[in-house]
Amino acid sequence: MLIKHAVIGLNLMIIGIVGSITSFILLNTPELTAALAGLAMVGAVMFAIGWEMPEHPVKAMREEIEYLRENIERMFEELNILDVKPSFLPSSMSKNGKPSIIIPLARHLHAKEAKKLPERFIITIRNIPYLKLKPPCTKLIEELAISKVENVGQVEDILSKILVQHLNIADNVKVAEKPNSTILVVASKMKYFGGEYRGKVGFTSALIGTVLAETLGRKIDFINLEIKGKDLILTFK
């Protein structure tokens, strides 16, 4: 329960209901009655949200993320794969029917080899090892029933829905396909760049890559990441 929201909402609701009835019966002023009725409505919405919404222990969550991030970063550093460019595979290319991120440990993965990969953290294809990671926001991707789309415009809509509407980490997302078949994704006015992770592909890039793979229905390779002010420019192929 968000106590602040619930208390303020309840107060507004009570003041609104009592005030509007009083003003309607005693004062007979429709404008004041309407204003107080509106106040009661906003109060009711605020109260419902405050009552239902669970309050997260933000400090503990931050500490947990920091602890996990640091250890994963150290592990990747030891394996010398912090700067390795990953590939994103759609759910159709995985045995468990879920999208995945492939980090090559020796050689880059070819599209022909990426068929029905087993559900393991370390996988080997023709004796070449790869790391198969679980991408972020898989539940959200599942909930939104993201599947193969026809054009880049639809990809842009889906990415906007996720980054702007659901996660609220960017103000606007643009997707464009260049003639050399590279895909340019520009997320402008970013509010969150994915913490202090030193690796090549952080939270946002991994999420965008996964959505691209899922919507285009093919293997997507990460090419480049650029940050210009508050804008995040990502290139995929």
């Binding site: 429709p30 409505m41 919405v45």
Partner: protein, 96 residues
């Protein structure tokens, strides 16, 4: 955290929308309370549609409010329709 920011944005814009509607209707010289309330309810549903889906946790509470508001809206509209097609019924309900 992002969910709370999203919810707060929804609340702020809903309140702002209602305030703008209130000022506009006052400036127009509207004196009927039911018109104000009907417009507020419409604004609520517009913002709910614009910001949907709201986080899963609040859906239950919002559904209850939506049901109450749609009932009030139906009552208001029904009275307005009855006023036009059968004014005698209105007089018998509300008294002379």
């Amino acid at each position: 955290m992002a969910e709370i920011v999203f919810i707060e944005k929804f609340l702020m814009r809903l309140a702002a929308g209602m305030f703008i509607a209130l000022v506009t209707l006052i400036l127009v010289g509207e004196k009927r309370v039911d018109v104000y309330i009907a417009v507020f309810i419409l604004i609520y549903f517009i913002f709910l549609a614009l910001y949907s889906p709201l986080p899963k946790e609040v859906e239950k509470g919002m559904n209850i409010i939506s049901k109450i508001l749609i009932t009030i809206f139906i009552i208001i509209v029904s009275f307005r329709i009855l006023e036009i097609i059968a004014p005698t019924i209105i007089i018998s309900i509300l008294g002379p």
